[in-house]
Symmetry: C2
Subunit: 149 residues, 2 copies
């Protein structure tokens, strides 16, 4: 059977669209997981400012950011492939010798961000506060143990 | 009214968890949008390999990656804040003088990734092929015009 025409044209179209096609798999994995953490950081920033009353609480933006964090948090673990503690990475090598604990901490991040996203829709600070704190603790628990500061 | 205790403790907990807290807003925006594109690139990579038959088609992974692309594609635009064509960015300055066209191209990416995610669940290549090609074209249209290669 001949390949349909769309397969060939898709390949031609996609070649230049793939970023960093020449990077090693480890470099791509580092870019990818750092990308996930950049999105988490970008979104939590305004939420922290709202909690600190440095900017007015905006229920919709807070809820949207929480939802985005919940959407990307489950994507992070996949980027921690073997042999990817590169010079561009802040990941401590002990991640790979403590993978079960690391996975458990990533799962905590996933749970905490999902739970915050769920209550953020209500706009009820009595519910949001404790869930936000849980999320902060999930970030900190992993950074303290597994990230070079 | 006194601030509840959890607000204070949340702030203490979160301080070290925020990545690149000292970076400028432009640098954070570049990190953020590059993070979105890293996630897109990471996920489309194996999909391209499956389409090229370099690796076996796995319906679940293909559908999961398509869903992830659809989840993060709508997050990219927010990172193109004014005055953020920094030295670390591949974004051409003309993005900001052609913002309506740029937004329209980002919307095409959003639509194409959502449509691919919808059909990817079926595993039906007759539907997936054309939607995958649309997504590739949406990537390419914007890269050609607005990204330094």
């Amino acid at each position: 059977m001949k390949k349909p025409v769309w397969i060939l044209s898709t390949l031609l179209v996609l070649m230049p669209a793939l970023s960093n096609a020449s990077d090693s798999m480890a470099d791509k994995a580092v870019d990818y997981r750092q990308g996930v953490f950049s999105i988490l950081g970008w979104n939590i920033g305004p939420m922290v400012q709202m909690m600190k009353k440095e900017k007015p609480y905006d229920k919709d933006i807070f809820a949207r950011n929480a939802q985005r964090m919940a959407a990307v948090a489950p994507m992070a673990l996949e980027g921690f492939i073997p042999d990817s503690a590169t010079k561009d990475s802040d990941a401590k090598p002990k991640i790979w010798s403590n993978m079960d604990d690391f996975k458990s901490k990533m799962k905590d991040l996933e749970t905490a961000s999902a739970e915050l996203a769920a209550v953020a829709k209500t706009g009820d600070m009595a519910q949001i506060g404790p869930k936000f704190q849980n999320l902060g603790q999930a970030c900190k628990a992993c950074h303290d143990e597994y990230r070079e500061e």
